[in-house]
Structure formats: structure tokens, C-alpha cells
């Protein structure tokens, strides 16, 4: 649809009607004042004709609201910068061929769930034999050697181990995001690698349900992978990045 017009607005039941649903809780006891406060907030969000369609006192001086309004904002698609990861994803066979033909040695990856995060399923989805959604994990790739350190690994341990294994890539999973603990944790890892002088020597990758490529790059990573990632996407990125560095001389080699 946007091919025609790059400026888009929300669509409820008609083009550009601006329909948006919101819900939130305000620290006000339910009543007319609370509803007016909710409408005022919606107006500030740029929602015209704000309607409180439901409100419920939650006790403790809190009230929950559901509202609808007509968004007065619009987005010009032409102005959006979407950091894209890569052109094309290679499959299992192609990745291994690529490694044999262009890198000529096994790729070593070290993965961990760092900090206090014990959610290993996401990382396992990428690393384990079984893989994810029918796509084999990196352990099954003959041209990869995988070291999966599992859960609750301190950043220090991960860095030490990566150096020890001569890792080409470090894969970190962060699932718990409450109070932005993942941001602090990932930032610390990047700094630590920098401090150890090994940052340039590895492809540094973060993943997790609330991780986007954009965010990861912002935090000093080479790539970020969000929900639904398949192992071959990650493998493709790693080997292409290694190849790019080899060609451009970015990485000093061992």
C-alpha cells in the first residue's frame, strides 16, 4: 500500500483515520477527575478526540484505563533508517561451503547467557544440535566449533574463555530486561573486551527477545538478533563478517 504514499498514519477501519488504542494506569482514584486526566494524557500523546472506554479502580489509589483516539501524528517511511543486517541468508550447506572455500579453517564461537540471566533456551536454539524451527544449530555445522558456557556466566569468565578458545565470535544472550539490566550488562561486556584489547579480534553478537540489530550496534556490538532468529541467519552473518574483515584486513589475523 505504501508504494503509493510514503506517509502513513494508523488505520482503524479506513485509510488515515488515525485510530489508536492505548491502556495505562494512573495514580489517581477512579472517577471523573481520573478519566479527565487520562484524556489529558492522551491529548498530550497527540490523540485527538480521546475516549476513555473503560476504567477500573485497582485499589491503592490507582486506576486502569483503556482508551481510543485519533492519532494526529504521521510517519514518512522515506525518512526511516532501518539498519539492515545483511542481504542474504545462506543455508547450512552454503555456510559450510563458504567457510571451506573462503576462510579455510574452522570458525570458533563461544556463547553464554551472561550476568544473572539463566534463560538458556534462546542461546541453545542458536547453538545446540537441534537448532530452532527446523533449522540446525551451529553445533551441527562441521565447519564450526561451538563452546556453549550456559547460564549465569560473569562477563569476565566469558572474556577469559573466549581468549582461551581463540574465539572468532562471541554470542551473548540476554532475556531479562527489567530495569534495563541487559543494557548495563552488554555495555560492560563491550567495555571489558575493549579494555582487554580483544574487541577487534572477535565478531561480537547479542541476542534475545528484546534485542534489535539497531540496539546492539548502538551498544557497540557487531550485530543483534531478536525474536524468531534462526541459526543459519547467525551463521551467515558470522562467516560473511569474518570474510569481510579478512578481505579488508580489518582483523589482524592469528
Amino acid at each position: 500500500m505504501h508504494e503509493a504514499d510514503p506517509v502513513v498514519r494508523p488505520y482503524g477501519d479506513r485509510r488515515d483515520d488515525g485510530a489508536v488504542q492505548v491502556s495505562f494506569t494512573l495514580p489517581v482514584r477512579a472517577g471523573e477527575l481520573a478519566s479527565e486526566a487520562a484524556r489529558a494524557l492522551m491529548r498530550k500523546m497527540g490523540l485527538a478526540s480521546p475516549q476513555v472506554v473503560f476504567s477500573r479502580d485497582l485499589g491503592e489509589g490507582l486506576t486502569f484505563f483503556v482508551g481510543y483516539g485519533r492519532c494526529t501524528h504521521q510517519v514518512d517511511l522515506a525518512t526511516l533508517e532501518v539498519p539492515r543486517l545483511q542481504g542474504e541468508v545462506m543455508d547450512f550447506g552454503a555456510v559450510n561451503r563458504f567457510v571451506r572455500e573462503r576462510l579455510g579453517r574452522k570458525v570458533v564461537v563461544v556463547g553464554a547467557c551472561t550476568g544473572t540471566d539463566a534463560h538458556t533456551l534462546g542461546l541453545d536454539a542458536i547453538l545446540s544440535m537441534k537448532g530452532f524451527a527446523g533449522d540446525y544449530g551451529l553445533e551441527r555445522y562441521p565447519e564450526f566449533r561451538v563452546v556453549n558456557l550456559g547460564s549465569q556466566v560473569p562477563n569476565e569468565t566469558l572474556v577469559a574463555r573466549a581468549v582461551e578458545e581463540g574465539a572468532d565470535a562471541i554470542l551473548v544472550s540476554q532475556v531479562v530486561t527489567m530495569r534495563d539490566v541487559h543494557l548495563a550488562n552488554l555495555t560492560r561486556l563491550a567495555e571489558l573486551l575493549e579494555a582487554e584489547g580483544v574487541r577487534e579480534r572477535v565478531v561480537l553478537i547479542a541476542g534475545g527477545p528484546r534485542i534489535s540489530h539497531e540496539l546492539a550496534v548502538e551498544l557497540g556490538f557487531d550485530a543483534g538478533f531478536g525474536p524468531g532468529t534462526t541459526p543459519s541467519q547467525v551463521a551467515s552473518f558470522i562467516v560473511k563478517e569474518l570474510d569481510r574483515r579478512r578481505v579488508t584486513g580489518f582483523r589482524d589475523g592469528r
Binding site: 488505520y11 482503524g12 477501519d13 479506513r14 485510530a19 476513555v52 472506554v53 473503560f54 477500573r56 483503556v66
Partner: protein, 525 residues
């Protein structure tokens, strides 16, 4: 579905004697009304005949030619508009539509033309009626072929509404819905259309909370749904509404444009639009004759009773009305497979064991009307702006639908209490239904109802009360029952409401070759 309903229904232990009694009473009630129907016609019935004769256009002001012709005929309508039309065709040698246009432009006065040879008039009339039947039959065959070729979903079919007011936007939403799993798309009508004593014309983009039902809009949607059906490899059905002051005309349009279902209730217009009872009960008869021929599934409107009356205490009124609607339908030539009798999931969510009562009612309807698809309507009355709870209410509704083997599931929307559905509401509703029904597909086969349980007892009690109600209506007659507010807690006088002026006694020589063809000699018997 059959296994399912046998499963749950057998546990209800209904008394077959009571069921027989209900049907006998319904027959007596309907007999009395049909005796009246047979002696009368209505402006809309005559306009429908003209439409079937091929008159579809409007005049310069947008007034349909069929209205102009019927209005000009005035007193003469009792002889049948068809008589005057085909007399004019015989005399002038013009096509029906040309005749109608000439009348509209004041160039021709049907009543003043010389009377042609009656045999010639009849020959022309019968010829036109047969052509009309052929056209309808052709559309029906078309549907059969497509269904055969493309296949269709298992029941319950997922039925959603579109209601943007703009037929082109409706198309976008309908296609999106079909892609997301909808089996049936209903284009809701604009508020107010049912009280218009004519059918608007052409493609329309300005309805309120619905889109005008016009023949052109029917075509536009049909084309879109046919395309998407081909794309999906699954036949997607189209629905519109044959209620209001133009029941038979819209049924005719639906027959000619291959709609698959029509909302068509014998009493909805009376109760919910305050349309005159006589007018509606005459109109429903012809409209159903047309739908019978067209292979429409009709949807009756008993669900609406529970929006004005209480679902728990008035549950039996739904059942009583279904027996009456069934009888009216059978007498108009509809087959059981065409009877989407309506009921609804409308118990107060705060009612303890409310789900048991909903299951009781749904299983009862299934048990009483085997062979009928049965249309199950979602919770609406007790929806609030709490879209999360609303979504859950719909989830339980979908569960009951699949558990009890309903045929047509009209999906509830999380935003029911707020606005006509957004495109995303329809997505959520379809996802809800697919999730619940897939997850509980064979649940109905797993259980035997305890015959002494709350569900079975409740179902038997509702049936008993329905039968008592039918007995009472049989005694006082349907007209009187409507006056006493026995349905939907609404009282309607047989001589009150809109449109009585359109009721006309048939003259002894009343002529309607379309009705004759549709009845094939079996006039509501």
C-alpha cells in the same frame, strides 16, 4: 458435527412428545398467518416482482424505477404489478425496463393502456418469470461448482462482519478477513436503511455503521470474494440483510448476485424496527420463496431477543420463536440445510454457572433442529470497553460453539462496546476462534452429559417453557402474541408501525408469475 451433537444432545433426554407438540403448535400458528398472507400483497413484494422482471435502474433523482411504477399504480396494485407491466410489454412491445422508465418519465400510464390479450400477457409474464428462475438457478449452480472445486471449511464456519460504510473499504477489510480465515463475510447495512421504503442504487461510500445494500455493492463484494476464494482455494461466502421494508426486493437482488446467506427473520422487522406486523409477515413469505430457490442459507434473528430481554429468563422465547421461524421457512420451500436459526451467547457474565446455561441452550437448539446449520451469535450485551475481558467472553463463546457443534459462528469482537470492528479487531476475533476451535475440536466427543445434571435439567426446563408459550400463542394467534409483547419484551400492534400503507389486498385476478414459478403450485401449504 453430527457425532458431537449426538454426544451432548443425547444426554439432554428431551421428551420427543413435547418436541412434536411444539411443531404442531407452530404449524397452527403459521397456518393462520399464511391464510392472511395469501390474500394480500405489498408494495415491496410487487417491486420485487418488477426487479425479477429485469427492472433495476433509477430515475434522474435516483429513485428506483420499481418504486415509481408501483407508486403510480396506486389502487391498481391488487391486480399485481406484473399484470400491468406485461400488459404494457404486450401493448408497446418494449422491454420491461423501458416500460418502467417510460412510466417514470410520465410518458406512459400503465392503467390507461388498452388491455392486451390475457393469454399473451400471461405468456409474457411466465416467460419472464422462467427467465428469472433460470438466472437464479444459474447463480446457484455457479456456487455449487465453486464450492465443489474450491472446497469449504468444516463447521462452525467463521462469520465476520464488515461495516465501514464504504463498499471499497469494505472490500479491503473483507479480503483481509478472508485471508485470516473468515469463511463468511457479512456487509452490515447503514443505520436507517431498513426503514427506507426503497433500495438505494449504485456503489455507495457514505453509510453510517454499515454500508447500503445495493445491487451494485453486492456485485462489487461478490467479485472481490470470488477473487480471494480462488486465491485461497476455499469458497468464501457473502451475506446481506433481507429485513426491513424491502425484504423481498433484497432477497431478489441477493438471488441475482449470488449472495450465499441472507438475514431473514419472520418477525425481526416488527420487533426491532417497528415495521407493521402485517407488512413484514407478507414480505417475509416472498423473500423466503426467493431465498429457497437461490439456495441461500437464511439467518433468523432470535439472538436479538436477548439484547432487549434477559438471556436466562427469556431463553424459552428464543426456542418458541425458532419453531415458528422454522415453520414459516419450511412453508416457503426452504430446506432444513438452509435454516440458519439464530440464537446467542448473552448470559450475564456475573451469573454463577453461566457457562453451563449457555451450553444447555446451545445444545438444546442443536438437538431440536438437527440438519439445520444453526447460527450462533456472540456476546454483545454484556461487553464493556474492557477489550481484554471482551476477548475472553468471545473465547468462551467460541468454545461453546465448537463443543456443541454449531454450524455458523458469528465472531464476537473485543471492541463490541466501542465501535464497529477495526481491521485488527477482526484479526483478533478470527485468531481467537481458530485457536479455541482447533484446540477443542473434538471436545464434544469426549463427554457424556449427566442426564440429572444442571445442563440437562436446564435444557429440559427451557423446552417445557417454550412449548407452553407456543400453546398459548396458538390459542391467541401470532398477532395477539406480538401485541402482548411475548417476544423480546416488545409490544407491537397489528395495525401499528411503519409500512402498513404498503399492504394491499389481492384482487381475485391477482397476477404474479414470479410467485407462481417460485411456489410451483405449492402455495405455502
Amino acid at each position: 458435527m453430527t457425532e458431537t451433537c449426538r454426544g451432548l444432545a443425547s444426554g439432554l433426554r428431551l421428551d420427543p412428545g413435547l418436541v412434536r407438540e411444539a411443531r404442531e403448535d407452530a404449524r397452527a400458528i403459521v397456518d393462520e398467518v399464511l391464510a392472511y398472507v395469501r390474500e394480500h400483497t405489498t408494495t415491496s413484494m410487487e417491486r420485487a416482482a418488477l426487479r425479477l422482471a429485469g427492472v433495476e435502474e433509477v430515475d434522474a433523482e435516483g429513485t428506483p424505477l420499481v418504486n415509481l411504477v408501483v407508486d403510480r399504480l396506486g389502487d391498481r396494485l391488487g391486480h399485481g404489478a406484473s399484470y400491468w407491466l406485461f400488459n404494457a410489454v404486450a401493448v408497446t412491445g418494449r422491454e420491461p425496463e423501458e416500460v418502467a422508465r417510460a412510466v417514470a418519465e410520465g410518458e406512459l400510464d400503465l392503467g390507461r393502456l388498452p388491455a392486451a390479450d390475457p393469454a399473451r400477457v400471461r405468456q409474457l409474464g411466465t416467460g419472464a418469470a422462467r427467465l428469472a428462475m433460470e438466472a437464479i438457478d444459474a447463480r446457484r449452480r455457479e456456487r455449487d461448482v465453486m464450492v465443489e472445486r474450491l472446497g469449504q471449511s468444516p463447521s462452525p464456519w467463521l462469520y465476520v462482519i464488515v461495516a465501514t460504510g464504504n463498499i471499497y473499504e469494505d472490500v479491503v477489510q473483507a479480503r483481509s478477513a478472508a485471508r485470516m480465515g473468515a469463511d463468511v463475510i457479512a456487509v452490515i447495512r447503514s443505520t436507517g436503511q431498513s426503514l427506507l421504503d426503497y433500495v438505494p442504487h449504485g456503489a455507495t461510500t457514505e453509510g453510517y455503521a454499515g454500508t447500503y445494500a445495493t445491487q451494485e455493492n453486492f456485485r462489487i463484494m461478490r467479485r472481490a470474494l470470488d477473487e480471494v476464494s480462488e486465491e485461497l482455494g476455499r469458497y468464501v461466502r457473502q451475506v446481506n440483510y433481507a429485513s426491513g421494508l424491502c425484504m423481498p426486493e433484497i432477497a431478489a437482488m441477493g438471488a441475482l448476485e449470488r449472495l450465499d446467506m441472507m438475514l431473514n427473520d419472520a418477525m425481526y422487522g416488527i420487533l426491532f424496527r417497528d415495521i407493521n406486523p402485517r407488512r413484514t409477515l407478507i414480505d417475509q413469505y416472498l423473500s423466503r420463496r426467493i431465498s429457497a430457490r437461490a439456495g441461500h442459507i437464511i439467518n433468523t434473528g432470535e439472538d436479538n431477543y436477548l439484547t432487549t430481554d434477559d438471556a436466562f429468563t427469556a431463553a424459552h422465547t428464543v426456542i418458541a420463536s425458532q419453531f415458528i421461524n422454522e415453520e414459516f421457512a419450511l412453508r416457503a420451500g426452504l430446506a432444513r440445510e438452509q435454516l440458519g436459526l439464530g440464537h446467542a451467547f448473552q448470559m450475564d457474565p456475573d451469573l454463577p454457572d453461566g457457562l453451563l446455561h449457555e451450553i444447555a441452550q446451545a445444545a438444546l437448539v442443536r438437538a431440536l433442529f438437527p440438519g439445520c446449520p444453526i447460527k450462533f451469535m456472540p456476546p454483545t450485551k454484556y461487553k464493556t470497553g474492557n477489550i481484554f475481558r471482551a476477548h475472553l467472553q468471545d473465547g468462551l463463546f467460541n468454545l461453546v460453539g465448537v463443543l456443541t457443534g454449531q454450524g455458523i459462528q458469528l465472531l464476537g469482537m473485543p471492541t463490541e462496546a466501542i465501535h464497529t470492528p477495526f481491521v485488527s479487531d477482526r484479526y483478533l476475533a478470527l485468531e481467537n476462534a481458530r485457536y479455541v476451535m482447533n484446540n477443542a475440536r473434538h471436545l464434544g466427543e469426549e463427554f457424556l452429559l449427566r442426564p440429572d445434571g444442571r445442563i440437562a435439567r436446564r435444557a429440559r426446563e427451557v423446552l417445557e417453557r417454550a412449548v407452553a408459550m407456543l400453546r398459548q400463542i396458538r390459542d391467541i394467534g401470532l398477532w395477539q402474541a406480538l401485541e402482548e409483547g411475548m417476544f423480546a419484551a416488545v409490544r407491537r400492534d397489528r395495525d401499528g408501525g411503519k409500512g402498513l400503507e404498503g399492504v394491499v389486498a389481492r384482487e381475485p385476478d391477482y397476477y404474479n408469475p414470479f410467485l407462481d414459478e417460485l411456489e410451483g403450485g405449492r402455495c405455502g401449504a
